[in-house]
């Protein structure tokens, strides 16, 4: 595998060419097809319709095999890189092949439902491609030279430092620091549910709130207390920055993962709808 190529550029976009070939072939077939004198209308029941439908069904089954292939670490049937590349391009070609198969006939039935499912699966897949190409870079940029673990250790250190510094301040300020440092280690404040992770650094942050409160209270301090408060604020701000960095990190990781919760289950729903579509057409032939 050539590390430098993205999945879109795999082997000089070999599968892009294949997918374009499939699309152009499908369009040419559709355009050249004379649906005959009975109904001057193209639809899935003509021989061209069956051909395009068969191709579409084959492509869907093929695309779903990626889920099998990526779990086969020992196999040498192509590289996973290549499989993913073909998954992306051939998946996009379905938009053309299956739309032409439908002959633009839509209705409130399982046939159109299967089509709609396919569109949603492809749309989530398009987001997936964007996520895979976009977020890993952001993850690296966000953490800089650090790792998630080292950042967490630093936050814990800062917490201890803040608590120690706050001991020199009046009860009021001390309480604010105690509250904010205690909560920062609680799971719910960083990460947590999927929605919290997706929210990233836009959540209500107790550390940020504590900083603002300290700034207000600290304006009245003089001498040693003012100097300690200054150090405390510096530490709290650093901590706040680190926490936001982790939240962003978790958000990027969540975005890399969340689309699969639509893509995978809906593609299985699509598989079921596809089976129902094919069986129903021939059940009442």
């Amino acid at each position: 595998m050539r590390q430098q190529e993205s999945i879109l550029e795999f082997r000089r976009a070999r599968y892009l060419k294949l997918a374009l070939l499939a699309c152009i072939g499908a369009i040419a077939l559709y355009a050249a097809h004379d649906p005959g004198p009975i109904y001057a209308k193209r639809y899935g029941g003509t021989w061209v319709g069956y051909t395009l439908g068969g191709l579409g069904a084959f492509l869907i089954l093929w695309l779903m095999l990626l889920g099998v292939r990526k779990r086969r670490y020992g196999t040498s049937v192509g590289t996973l890189h290549g499989w993913t590349s073909s998954h992306v391009y051939l998946g996009l070609s379905l938009l053309v092949v299956v739309t032409l198969h439908s002959g633009f006939e839509f209705g409130w039935n399982i046939h159109t439902a299967a089509y709609a499912l396919m569109i949603v699966v492809i749309a989530s897949g398009i987001f997936g491609v964007y996520a895979y190409l976009h977020y890993p870079t952001l993850v690296t940029q966000n953490l800089g030279g650090e790792t998630l673990e080292s950042t967490l250790l630093k936050i814990a250190d800062l917490d201890r430092r803040c608590r120690r510094l706050a001991l020199d301040l009046p009860d009021e300020a001390n309480a604010i620091v105690m509250r904010s440092t205690r909560s920062s280690t609680r799971e719910a404040r960083i990460g947590g549910s999927l929605w919290r992770r997706l929210a990233g650094d836009t959540v209500v942050c107790p550390t940020r709130a504590a900083c603002q409160a300290l700034m207000k209270i600290g304006a009245g301090y003089v001498g040693h207390q003012a100097s300690v408060n200054g150090q405390l604020l510096s530490a709290m701000t650093r901590k706040s920055t680190l926490i936001d960095r982790i939240r962003r990190d978790l958000r990027y990781r969540a975005l890399l993962d969340v689309w699969l919760y639509a893509h995978v289950p809906l593609s299985f729903a699509l598989l079921a709808a596809l089976i129902a579509h094919v069986v129903s057409v021939f059940y009442f032939w």
Binding site: I38, Y39, N109, I110, E149, F268, Y283
Partner: protein
């Protein structure tokens, strides 16, 4: 110069001394650093310590550090100072035994341990409770149940005629319906089995014939020899008639007709019809039923054996009514009445349309009665009965017996001789009346062609049989009611017609003034073949 470093962060906890020569020392987690602080919280090269003539200084390289509890980026070091870099706690001591500076390195007890942060890490990135695999199973089997298993199950139950199965099947199977049915099929739209008799088998013709039993061949199979056409038994109804294509979709297509009719001489060498592919561009001139070839002047003539003058009857000044002596202006509809809901025009009837003016009276001074509009022998028979009644004195109301008519005495039963004489007189008077009608007054020949045979008493007359054309173009499914917006003379201009032989049927050019072919044309009605013709034959407006 030399730096003395005492490490207290060793594995076994025993203090270990290092003497480091030089004047510049790096602190960091990288192994190239002289003061190696292996921890993730320490930067690769965190700070730099410099020994100089004026003492020791430390400045940050990559990250700031804590000096005497203050976060700084550089500091002058003195004995007793403390430094915190990550988890490391460095204490500056008085130099001894030749070293410029002594530093004790400890792992701070005040910072988090790795173990506790690992727990935090696990909590933060724990896997969501939602499993993609479980969701996928749910989505697959849920969809399969709703879209496939439920409709099949309800259809099977429906065939067992179980209670509740029917509405269930209707709902479930409806989801399979790929498109709207034809309007006429909507009554059994929920009964898929009405047409789809057997699962996984195509719709059989028997399903269609259950209702459409009278469908006829396009061409009688006896005439089909030598043509490329096929009989109904050689194809399926659904080959042409595909349903679920919308309420109005029917198998009407000019292309379909043109497949054979555009090259009819190849498709059916014995066909009587001519080549046609499109009404607007490629359709032969209309051929009229029972009308012979055109005369040398190019006129068609209908041999109806009637006489009629349209010009006279349609005189804008009106025609004189012989009874009222008033003039009446006639319109087309006075004689040509609509029938069949206006689709067709009924044949003209003597009794209804002519007799109010053209009375068949005889001996007007005797009676106002008329002879029946019938064959001459029937006319004579009814006259004979009339005169016989006069002779025997049974005078019908309104009749005045002629003075010269011998009559029997009323109230006395006639003798056989008297009866025979009465019949002879009636016969003679009847013959005389017929002769007067046909010959003297020429009442019949006003409209009919009358042929005379014989002389004197033996004279007989024959009225040429009337052959009116009721369907001029029986193959066309023309409806007058759909053309009610037009006047009669738009298509049938008889204003200058003085003879019954004149044909006033429109030619194709007249129709094309409003009708274009299937593709349509600006300002014209798009008319495909099926607008006028029926594929399966069968009844149309005209037969």
């Amino acid at each position: 110069m030399e730096l003395l470093v005492t490490r207290h962060d060793t594995e076994d906890g025993a203090a270990r001394e290092q003497r480091l020569p030089g004047s510049v020392f790096q602190l960091g987690r990288g192994s190239q650093c002289e003061i190696h602080l292996p921890d993730a919280r320490v930067a690769l090269t965190h700070a730099r310590l410099t020994l100089g003539a004026s003492g020791a200084t430390i400045e940050a390289v990559e990250q700031r550090f804590v000096h005497n509890d203050r976060e700084v980026s550089g500091a002058q070091l003195a004995a007793g100072d403390t430094l915190e870099i990550g988890p490391y706690f460095l204490k500056v001591d008085v130099a001894s035994s030749g070293a410029v500076l002594a530093i004790a390195v400890r792992l701070s007890s005040r910072v988090s341990t790795r173990a506790s942060s690992n727990a935090l890490f696990r909590v933060l990135t724990r896997a969501p409770r939602l499993s993609k695999r479980r969701l996928s199973y749910l989505a697959f089997f849920g969809t399969l149940l709703v879209t496939l298993l439920a409709p099949i199950a309800s259809d099977l139950l429906d065939r067992q005629q179980l209670p509740l199965a029917e509405p269930l099947a209707a709902g479930a199977v409806q989801a399979w319906n790929p498109g709207e049915l034809l309007r006429s099929h909507l009554t059994f739209a929920h009964e898929c089995r009405a047409c789809h008799k057997v699962a996984f088998q195509r719709v059989p013709d028997t399903a269609c014939n259950a209702c459409h039993s009278s469908v006829r061949e396009h061409v009688a199979s006896s005439k089909m020899a030598g043509s490329t056409a096929f009989t109904l038994s050689e194809t399926r109804c659904a080959q042409c008639h595909r349903d679920h294509k919308g309420k109005l979709a029917e198998a009407h297509s000019d292309q379909l007709c043109a497949q054979c009719h555009a090259r009819i001489e190849e498709a059916a060498s014995r066909a009587v019809v001519q080549k046609v592919s499109d009404f607007g561009k490629d359709h032969p001139q209309f051929r009229l039923w029972r009308v012979g070839p055109r005369d040398p002047q190019g006129h068609l003539a209908e041999r109806s054996n009637l006489k009629f003058n349209h010009t006279l009857h349609l005189d804008p000044g009106g025609v004189r009514d012989p009874n009222s002596r008033r003039r009446t202006v006639l319109a087309c509809g006075d004689c040509h009445e609509a029938e069949d809901g206006g689709a067709r025009i009924a044949p003209v009837s003597m009794e209804r349309h002519c007799s109010s003016c053209h009375a068949l009276t005889f001996e007007p001074q005797v009676t106002k009665r008329q002879v029946p509009h019938a064959a001459l022998d029937e006319v004579e028979r009814s006259l004979r009965e009339f005169y016989a009644r006069l002779v025997i004195g049974d005078v019908p109301a309104g009749a005045t017996p002629p003075r010269d008519l011998p009559r029997l005495r009323p109230g006395v039963a006639p003798s056989p001789e008297e009866r025979r004489e009465a019949m002879r007189i009636a016969d003679e008077r009847a013959r005389r009346a017929v002769r007067e009608l046909v010959q003297t007054r020429a009442v019949c020949s006003t409209c009919h062609y009358v042929e005379r045979k014989g002389q004197g008493e033996r004279t007989s007359w024959t009225i040429a049989p009337v052959a009116l054309t009721s369907a001029w173009m029986p193959a066309a499914n023309f409806r007058h009611d759909k053309h009610a917006a037009q006047t009669c003379i738009t298509c049938h201009d008889v204003r200058a017609s003085r003879r019954a032989e004149d044909v006033a049927m429109p030619d194709i050019a007249r129709c094309r003034q409003c009708h274009a072919g299937a593709q349509g044309a600006p300002g014209k009605v798009a008319s495909e073949c099926a607008a006028c013709h029926r594929f399966h034959g069968g009844t149309n407006t005209w037969h």
